[in-house]
C-alpha cells in the first residue's frame, strides 16, 4: 500500500477529492507514509536542516549540528526538543472576560476566575501554534515529548547517530528562571 506524494500533499492541504480521502481513511495504512510526509514538509520549510520529526502544523524537530531542536517553518528556533517549546514562544493569555469574549462571546465565554485560554505564537512569523485551555495556574502542558531515538532505532530500523537521553528537560529552564528571581 502506497500513495503518491502528490496525493498526500493534496490530502494534507484538504484539496484531495473526498472519494480519494475516504479511501485513504478507510483502507489499511501505507507503510512508507512517514518518509513521504517528511519529504513533503522538508520541501515547504525555509531552512535546510533535516527534519527528524514533525511536531505540529508548523513545528518540526530538526537536526542542527549535534543538536535536535524545535523549529518553525519560518526558521524561528525554540530550543532542545526535550524542553517544552512553549517556554520559547510568545504567550497571550486570555484571562479576563474582555479578552475571552473576543473569541467566545456571551454564553460561550468560559469563567475567567477558573479558566485561562493561552495562545502560543511563533515570535518569528506570528503563527498561532497552539491554544491551551486550562484551569488558572496549571503548568504549561508539554503535549508531546517524542522518543525520537527509539522511534528511529526500533520502529524505522535506522538508528540516528549521536543518540540523546530521553528525558523531560523543561524543569531545568523553569528552575533557572526561579533562581534568577532569588
Amino acid at each position: 500500500m502506497s500513495y503518491s506524494k502528490e496525493d498526500l500533499r493534496d490530502l494534507y492541504d484538504g484539496r484531495l477529492p473526498w472519494n480519494k480521502t475516504f479511501e485513504i481513511m478507510s483502507k489499511p495504512k501505507d507503510d512508507d507514509r512517514f518518509d513521504k510526509y517528511v519529504e513533503i514538509l522538508q520541501e515547504r520549510v525555509s531552512y535546510t536542516e533535516r527534519i527528524l520529526l514533525p511536531l505540529g502544523d508548523h513545528l518540526n524537530v530538526v537536526q542542527k549540528g549535534g543538536e535536535r531542536i524545535v523549529k518553525c517553518d519560518c526558521g524561528h528556533e525554540f530550543g532542545d526538543w526535550r524542553q517544552n517549546w512553549k517556554l520559547n514562544a510568545l504567550i497571550f493569555a486570555r484571562d479576563d472576560t474582555e479578552k475571552l469574549e473576543e473569541v467566545y462571546p456571551g454564553l460561550k465565554c468560559p469563567d475567567p476566575n477558573l479558566c485561562e485560554v493561552r495562545e502560543f505564537y511563533c515570535p518569528g512569523c506570528g503563527s498561532l501554534l497552539m491554544v491551551e485551555a486550562v484551569p488558572v495556574g496549571y503548568p504549561l502542558i508539554f503535549d508531546a515529548l517524542p522518543d525520537i531515538d527509539s522511534f528511529y532505532r526500533e520502529w524505522l530500523g535506522r538508528p540516528l547517530p549521536d543518540e540523546k537521553e530521553f528525558r523531560d528537560m523543561t524543569y531545568q529552564v523553569t528552575r533557572e528562571w526561579g533562581r534568577e528571581l532569588e
Binding site: 484531495l16 454564553l107 512569523c125 503563527s127 508531546a144 522518543d147 522511534f151 524543569y171 528562571w177
Partner: protein, 731 residues
C-alpha cells in the same frame, strides 16, 4: 481429593480455566498461550468466513432487539450492543453500538466466575443473568447487561451478552440518571449478576417485581425480552457455526481471533504512532452546592483535576497514567478502574481498531495504571456512593485520550486519523406525560455533538460522540410522542464551533417547548464535567469550542404571542444577545440544572459546544469560509474577526464573496497584532508564578490543586518544579 467436575472444557471449572488462561498469558505474553497461531492462517478463507458468521450473528442479534424493544433509546438511537465471550469472559467479537461496555460485560462474567457461581448459584443452559452494578463493573446503573451462557454437549463454551440503556431504573426522581443524589440507595434498581430466567424464559417473579417497582415496567421488560431474543438468536447461530466448523475449530479459532487482534494492535501502534510521552488534563467540575441532597456534606462545589499521560512504548504498547487525579467526593460522578477500561474500549474501536475485529486483543497491549486509592477514579468508599453518572468526567477523559492519540497519529503523518471528541449536558424531566402517567422523561438522541476537526478536513457536523460510533438524533416525531414537548427546530449552531484551519464539526442545540403535561420537574443530565473551564481540545493552533449551556426560557406572555401569530424562538442565535432578544426570562442553569418546576410553554434549551479546531484559523481557506457562510454555518463576524477574511454578499448570485486583497491585509495585521500582544513566556511565567505565590486564585481552584497534592507526591513535585516554588510552599 479429586476436583469436582466442572462445566468447562474437559470437566474443568470455569475458575480453573480462567486461572490457567491468565497464567498462560503471564508466561508467554500471548493470549491463551498461543505463541504460534496457525488455524486461521492455514485456511484464511475459512477463517474469514468463520469471523464473518460470528459478526453477522451479533449484528443481526442487535437488530432483533430493536424490533422487540419499545424504547426509543433502543429503536430510535440504538443505545445497545452485543458481545460474544469465551467461557472465561474474554471478548471474541462485538456488534456495532455502545461498545464502551464490551470489556465491562466480560468483567461481570468474570465476577460470577470468581464468586463461584458455578457451584454456589448454578450456571445452566438457558439461564439469564442480569447486572447493572458499577461496583462490580459498569458505567452507570441505567446500562443493563443481559448475559446468557452457551452450552455445547453439556460443556459451557461461551457467553453472549447484550447491553441496553434503560429509560427507567426506579431511581430517585427523575428516575433514570439522577444527579441530585449522592448515596447508593438513590440509584434505583441494582442487579448484581442475578439469575432472572431459566430454560430460555424470564422468571415470573422477576416480571412481578419489575411491574411493581418501575413506572415504565413495560419498557424495561420489553427490553429484557429483546435482549433475551437476541441472545438466544446468537446462541443458536453459534451452535450452527459449531455444527459446520466443528467444536475444536470453534474453540481454537475464537482464541486465535483474540491473539491475532492483540498482535494486530501492536502492529497498528508501531505503524501509526510515534513512541514517547503525551500529556493532557481534564478539569472536572461538580456543582453540588445547590443540589437538594439529604446527605448535607455533599452540598459543596468542587473541581477535580484529572491529568492524563499516555506513554507509547517502543515495544508497541500503550500505558495510561492518571497520576495527579484529585479526590473522590459525595456526588454521583466518581469513576472506578473498571469504568476507565470502558473508556479505553470505546476509544480503541474508534481509532486504532476500527476494522470490525476489535475484541479483548485490542486492549491487551494497553496498560492502565491503577488510579490512586481514594481518588476520583478509585474511591475506596464506592459501595457507599451513588454511581448514576461516573461517565460525565470519563467522557471528558476519553475525549482527551482521543486527542492524545490524534497528536501521535499527526506526528507520524497519518493526519487523516486525527480528531477528538466532546460531550455535553442538558435537561431531563420527571412528571406526567401527555397521557397523564407520572414517569421519568428523558429524550436522549446522541447525534447533537460536534466532534473535533480531522487533520485533513473539517469535523463532521453533529456527527460524533464518544460513547458510540453510530450517533443518531432519532425522529423528532417519536420523541414528541414519548415526552410532552415539541421540538422547535434542529438547526446547526455556527457558534458551537472550535475554530481552526480545519474547523470542528458543529453541534445542534436542543430547543424544546413543554406541551400537554399537568406537572413536570426538570433537572440536569450531564455527559461532561466541563462548564466554566472549557476543554483543552484545540489542535495545533485550533481553538476548542466554547462553553456549553443549559437554559430555561420562560415567555412573559406566550398566549398573546400565539394569538398575534408572532414568531416563537426556535434557535439561540448570537450568544451575546439572547437575553435582549427573548421576550421573557432567561435562566442560565449552569452545568447541572437544579430540579426546577417547569410549565406549559417553557423552553428547555441545551446548547452543545464542539470539540477542537485544528491549525491556525487565519490559514483557513477563504473558499471554505464562504461555502460555510452560504450554508449558514459561519457568520460574517466569525469570518472577519476569527478567520480574518473580508467578505461581502452578492445579492445577484446569492453567494458570499471574498475580497482577497482586504483578506491578505487583515491576516497580515492579525500576525502583527499577535506579535505585539504576545509576551515572552518567561514574563508570563513570572506573573503567573507571583499570582500562585500570593494564592490569588479562586477558592475552588486552590482546593482543586490541594486535592491532587494530597494524593500525589509526583504531581506536587512537578507542579513545584514548573513554578520553581520553594519546597516548603503550600497552596
Amino acid at each position: 481429593m479429586s476436583e469436582r467436575k466442572g462445566i468447562g472444557e474437559g470437566g474443568k471449572t470455569l475458575k480453573r480455566m480462567m486461572e490457567e488462561n491468565e497464567r498462560l498469558y503471564r508466561e508467554t505474553g500471548c493470549y491463551a498461550g498461543i505463541t504460534e497461531p496457525h488455524l486461521l492462517k492455514e485456511n484464511p478463507v475459512k477463517g474469514e468466513l468463520f469471523h464473518s458468521r460470528i459478526m453477522a450473528s451479533l449484528i443481526a442479534g442487535r437488530e432483533t432487539t430493536r424490533m422487540v424493544s419499545g424504547s426509543p433509546f433502543v429503536r430510535e438511537v440504538a443505545e445497545l450492543c452485543l458481545g460474544l465471550y469465551t467461557p472465561e469472559g474474554d471478548n471474541i467479537a462485538q456488534s456495532t453500538g455502545i461498545q464502551i461496555h464490551i470489556k465491562l460485560m466480560g468483567d461481570n462474567i468474570q465476577w460470577m466466575i470468581n464468586k463461584n457461581y458455578e457451584e454456589e448459584v448454578g450456571i445452566n443452559d438457558g439461564d439469564f443473568f442480569i447486572a447493572n452494578e458499577p461496583v462490580i463493573s459498569g458505567m452507570h446503573a441505567a446500562d443493563v447487561y443481559d448475559m446468557l451462557p452457551i452450552f455445547w454437549e453439556g460443556e459451557l463454551i461461551g457467553w453472549i451478552s447484550t447491553v441496553i440503556m434503560e429509560m427507567d431504573i426506579g431511581a430517585v426522581s427523575p428516575g433514570l440518571m439522577p444527579l441530585a443524589n449522592v448515596e447508593r440507595g438513590t440509584d434505583g434498581l441494582k442487579f448484581c449478576c442475578e439469575r432472572i430466567g431459566s430454560n430460555d424464559r424470564l422468571n415470573r417473579d422477576f416480571e412481578h417485581k419489575i411491574e411493581i417497582c418501575l413506572d415504565m415496567s413495560d419498557i424495561f421488560l420489553l427490553d429484557r425480552k429483546g435482549a433475551i431474543a437476541s441472545n438466544i438468536r446468537v446462541r443458536e447461530e453459534i451452535k450452527r457455526i459449531i455444527g459446520e466448523f466443528g467444536i475444536e475449530y470453534y474453540k481454537r479459532a475464537t482464541r486465535e481471533l483474540i491473539e491475532e487482534e492483540r498482535r494486530s494492535q501492536i502492529v497498528r501502534i508501531r505503524q501509526r504512532m510515534v513512541p514517547g510521552r503525551y500529556r493532557g488534563v481534564v478539569p472536572a467540575e461538580f456543582p453540588m452546592a445547590d443540589q437538594p441532597v439529604a446527605w448535607l456534606p455533599a452540598k459543596r462545589d468542587t473541581i477535580r483535576l484529572i491529568p492524563i499521560q499516555m506513554d507509547v512504548l517502543p515495544a508497541g504498547g500503550l500505558v495510561l497514567d492518571f497520576e495527579g487525579v484529585g479526590e473522590w467526593g459525595w456526588h454521583p460522578f466518581n469513576g472506578t478502574p473498571q469504568a476507565v477500561w470502558g473508556g479505553v474500549s470505546i476509544v480503541t474501536v474508534q481509532t486504532l481498531a476500527c476494522d470490525g475485529r476489535g475484541n479483548l486483543g485490542s486492549l491487551l497491549p494497553i496498560e492502565v495504571k491503577e488510579p490512586p486509592i481514594d481518588s476520583l477514579l478509585n474511591p475506596s468508599q464506592i459501595k457507599k456512593l451513588a454511581t448514576s453518572t461516573p461517565w460525565a468526567p470519563l467522557l471528558d477523559v476519553f475525549g482527551m485520550w482521543t486527542h492524545l492519540l490524534g497528536i501521535a497519529f499527526y506526528l507520524r503523518g497519518f493526519r487523516e486519523e486525527t480528531f477528538n471528541y466532546r460531550s455535553s449536558a442538558g435537561w431531563q424531566m420527571a412528571g406526567y406525560d401527555q397521557m397523564g402517567t407520572k414517569r421519568p422523561l428523558m429524550a436522549a438522541g446522541t447525534g447533537y455533538f460536534g466532534p473535533g476537526a480531522c487533520g485533513v478536513c473539517d469535523g463532521v457536523d453533529c456527527g460524533g460522540w464518544l460513547a458510540t460510533p453510530e450517533v443518531d438524533m432519532g425522529s423528532a416525531e417519536v420523541w414528541e410522542l414519548f415526552v410532552p414537548h415539541m421540538e422547535m427546530s434542529r438547526r446547526i449552531d455556527p457558534y458551537s464551533v472550535g475554530y481552526g484551519r480545519f474547523r470542528s464539526g458543529l453541534a445542534i442545540p436542543q430547543v424544546v417547548m413543554i406541551h400537554r403535561s399537568q406537572q413536570l420537574v426538570g433537572s440536569g443530565i450531564i455527559g461532561t464535567a466541563s462548564d466554566g473551564i472549557i476543554p483543552n481540545l484545540g489542535q495545533f493552533g485550533g481553538y476548542p469550542g466554547g462553553r456549553r449551556n443549559t437554559m430555561l426560557l420562560r415567555y412573559d406572555n406566550l398566549p398573546e404571542l400565539m394569538e398575534k401569530r408572532q414568531p416563537l424562538l426556535y434557535e439561540v442565535g448570537h450568544p451575546a444577545d439572547l437575553k435582549d432578544r427573548f421576550p421573557g426570562q432567561v435562566f442560565d442553569m449552569g452545568l447541572l440544572a437544579v430540579p426546577t418546576e417547569i410549565y406549559e410553554g417553557d423552553l428547555l434549551v441545551s446548547v452543545s459546544a464542539a470539540a477542537g479546531g485544528l491549525g491556525d484559523p487565519i490559514e483557513r481557506d477563504p473558499a471554505l469560509i464562504t461555502a460555510d457562510m452560504d450554508n449558514g454555518l459561519t457568520t460574517e463576524w466569525q469570518a472577519s474577526s476569527i478567520y480574518c477574511v473580508k467578505t461581502s454578499y452578492d445579492e445577484k448570485a446569492k453567494q458570499w464573496k471574498v475580497d482577497e486583497a482586504a483578506t491578505k491585509e487583515l491576516r497580515q495585521s492579525k500576525r502583527k497584532e499577535r506579535l505585539a500582544r504576545g509576551v515572552p513566556a518567561k514574563d508570563w511565567w513570572q506573573k503567573s508564578r507571583q499570582r500562585l505565590m500570593d494564592r490569588n486564585l479562586d477558592g475552588k481552584i486552590l482546593e482543586m490543586y490541594q486535592s491532587s497534592m494530597r494524593l500525589s507526591e509526583a504531581f506536587t513535585r512537578e507542579f513545584k518544579d514548573f513554578w520553581a516554588l520553594p519546597d516548603d510552599f503550600n497552596l
